[in-house]
Symmetry: C2
Subunit: 141 residues, 2 copies
């Protein structure tokens, strides 16, 4: 079940990554808006739309277990009914080694009658290493 | 100047791609929300935030002239103040040859006091050829 404390978009985003870490497909899918036009793009992947395609893709991911993703460097724009999050994802799957992939994700949440729900998750691979271990604004020289 | 007919998110998106085609940096930048947390990700690129970084990136793109992008396959979720667009971009630069890159873009527009403005443009390269010349739902056999 989705937590009843889903009072903000940040709560919904935390629940999203928690469900991915636990490979909990039912909780994960319950966090999406009830809309055929929801969109998910995995890093390097094609566009998936609607609950059936998106569920199938995560079931495939979860065949290898949960994926631990640390989220950092949030940039947010929002209004009363919408939160647009841009984040950097540190992805750890299987062995707990240093992430060597730099993934940028856009997550958009809309406030629905059922609470905050995700409508788009668009992740892509960026060049170079993730800047996750540098605090924002650090000058290295 | 930005057209006064910017009454919908679709108008803002049309103006966005029109400015890119004409390499009009001032119109392009006027379409973004007045917010330091705006985000732009070019295909295969890193995350750019804020007006200065985003402007500099498009100025660099426009050194080779405008970029003609045909937009297709819109999936949209929205509320009164927000439009979340997922599209496929057919990109034509310089020579007018067939696009061989399959680009997916997420564009999010918020309704501001100044009208509909873009807050995030996240483009990424997907595998294979763009499905642009197949009408949605076409069965090929």
């Amino acid at each position: 079940m989705v937590s009843k404390s889903m009072g903000t978009a940040a709560d919904a985003e935390a629940a999203f990554y928690d469900a991915i870490a636990r490979a909990d497909i039912n909780v994960l899918m319950a966090l999406w808006a009830d809309d055929d036009d929801i969109v998910c793009v995995h890093p390097g992947g094609s566009r998936l739309t609607g609950h059936a395609e998106i569920r199938a893709s995560w079931e495939q991911v979860f065949e290898r277990g949960g994926v631990h993703i640390n989220v950092s460097r949030l940039h947010e724009t929002h209004n009363m009914m919408t939160a647009v999050h841009s984040i950097v994802e540190e992805v750890h799957q299987a062995e707990d080694r240093q992430p060597d992939v730099h993934v940028i994700a856009t997550n958009v949440f809309l406030k629905t009658a059922q609470g905050w729900r995700i409508v788009i998750h668009h992740a892509s691979v960026a060049p170079g290493r993730a800047p996750s271990h540098q605090p924002p604004g650090t000058v290295l020289h």
